[in-house]
Symmetry: C2
Subunit: 381 residues, 2 copies
Amino acid sequence: MANSLSSLRESNRRMVTEAVRKAGSLTQAQLARTTGLSPATVSTIVRELRDLGVLAISSGGGRRNAVTLAPEPGLLVGIDFGHSHLRVAVAEPTRRVLAEQAIPLDVDTSAAEGLLAAETLVDELLAALRADRQEVLGVGLGVPGPIDPLTGVLGSSTILPGWVGINPALALGERLGLPVHVDNDANLGAIAEATWGVARGRRDVAYLKVASGVGASIIIDGRIYRGASGAAGELGHITIDENGRLCRCGNRGCLETLAGGLYLIELVRATHGPGITVPRLVELALAGDVGCRRVIGDAGRHLGVAVASLCNILNPGLVVVGGALAEAGALLVDPLQEVVHRLAIPSAAAVLSVVPGALGDRAGVLGALASVQVSNMESAL
Amino acid sequence: MANSLSSLRESNRRMVTEAVRKAGSLTQAQLARTTGLSPATVSTIVRELRDLGVLAISSGGGRRNAVTLAPEPGLLVGIDFGHSHLRVAVAEPTRRVLAEQAIPLDVDTSAAEGLLAAETLVDELLAALRADRQEVLGVGLGVPGPIDPLTGVLGSSTILPGWVGINPALALGERLGLPVHVDNDANLGAIAEATWGVARGRRDVAYLKVASGVGASIIIDGRIYRGASGAAGELGHITIDENGRLCRCGNRGCLETLAGGLYLIELVRATHGPGITVPRLVELALAGDVGCRRVIGDAGRHLGVAVASLCNILNPGLVVVGGALAEAGALLVDPLQEVVHRLAIPSAAAVLSVVPGALGDRAGVLGALASVQVSNMESAL
DNA sequence: GGTGTAGGTTCAGGATCTGAACATTGGAGA
DNA sequence: TCTCCAATGTTCAGATCCTGAACCTACACC
């Protein structure tokens, strides 16, 4: 299908570029060793890619000639929508973050208001950097709900009711006049943790996002697995208790009704006042509040039931727990792990590690940045 | 890593061979179109492969020159162990079955007895074909339990207690003096259904084997997904009811205690006599026995809960239900599907089909045959 | 029987990778 | 400071491979 002589060259170019991207800086001899190509071939390919503007040869470096990715002009924007917050980051094409800010968002914001807020915040950050929209190469957008892979429309979400049925990439793209790539927030968090966080270098990972809702993302062989209709990883609506509480999705006893932040704060509202939020709940638990610790521990145990199922089905080596509730660290993860080891089959539990994410509430926006396609390579064929 | 000039030729040879294997018989022009190579390249590659003995050109065919796989000498053996049966098949390298037989096996057969029975049956079938063990190129073996991918040892299985801790491939290989490839029976059933059955041509499929126990196999991008320790797809021990019945695995309310054949026949033993078996249960249900229908329907509903979880996690487009209980067809699958559509999230349920397997109780042994590696290609480089 | 279309082969040409030879540079040691 | 060595990067001829075009062949249809 893709096997001609010229496709070989393209494949080798890609291999070289990828090796440089991973290592950051390499000499041509190292490049030859890692790619398995001969030094002669590497020499010509590097020269070509330099001429195409993809690679740069910094001969002035400490050693011989260091090959690096050519510095690209332009900026990337990452946007992460949550149930109650909005976070925007602006970064270089290398993904180094230059500016980042999070603002609270009203619970029942309409899509239009949310998009306007995002637009405003993007412009503010760009202004602070003395930059212009026209310098932005692309925008990555994360939303807490399943995106239809064909239409790009946000499916039924219990978290952002005002957004159902719209195409966020299209809507924001028109507003900003920029190419927007949209994805589920759990998928983006998984990408971020796999690129910079605790899942770095792992090829098969499950990522759990526990915030207002519960979502998951599955990385198989280094790529997000999306399933037949982009709904893979919708762990929040797994049935844990068939006779349980009614969920916003219409079923009973979904995981989300037992571990989702929206439901958890209802549990502590009576004792801790109506103004309590998920971050505050975590804060109190970490400070020693017994009730909050119990609520988070119970959530962890319920999550454990779902993760045990996931374990028996997929047998992952690593489960990363992210999202606002994961800020509770061991308070959430320890009970989760205990239940998984009790319920999952021993041979699956034995190889599993469950760890909190390393990127905290920045995972989503960093993943959004990572999801923006800005490969000089691509445009240079 | 694998990109040289000679690897291109090898890759193209492989592509051509694979195309011929899939289509059975192709003309060179068709081959050029399906592989994307030029007719000139196809011409030389086909000639090379003919000289190597991999392909055959049957110019006497109806049309022009039909390219086929060269007829290989030798035989393949497939062996499928179940809780209460043993099935052996002998086939040509093309996987055309020449002889096949199933015999009952005592419930608590030891590993040694089981392997002896298999050895005997293999010899009987070979004798009937006037063939010799030395003509056998390889043996595929299916066992109902997880195989450790590193050691090849059978992990904890509730179905074959006498087998735990042994390496079936090694043990049988020594007995037969032949190379044996072992795999989980659900994985083999999935391979068979994906190669010849209802999942033919599908790249992403979940296969459910419901017999004495409950197992599953997950095909992602055309390949069995095994997970970090080979335990992926162990659906039988997903917790359906935390306060349910005690399972042989030590937990409570595993799917297997609600839908596994071993438990189902206990339910009907009181009313239908102690001699009842799973096939008989299915037979009675198909004949109209109300009690048996109810038992099977309930099993389907419980399976539906687990499949709904699987659906929310993996979002497959197709779930194939195989194993002895699947012989009940719609009696099992309809209730299963009803529950899945109720519990799984709508966008996942909408794209899902649940169908009974097409290969019945032969799926395991056919998959075992398919799993034997006998590529002339490999030996011919 | 004639003609056309598609299949298959051959050949020259262009593209690619590789090994060997060669120039260059940085560093270790005297 | 100087010399030598080892590693790096480049160049070039050679071999391999794919492709397009021209050519031949066989079957089908008229």
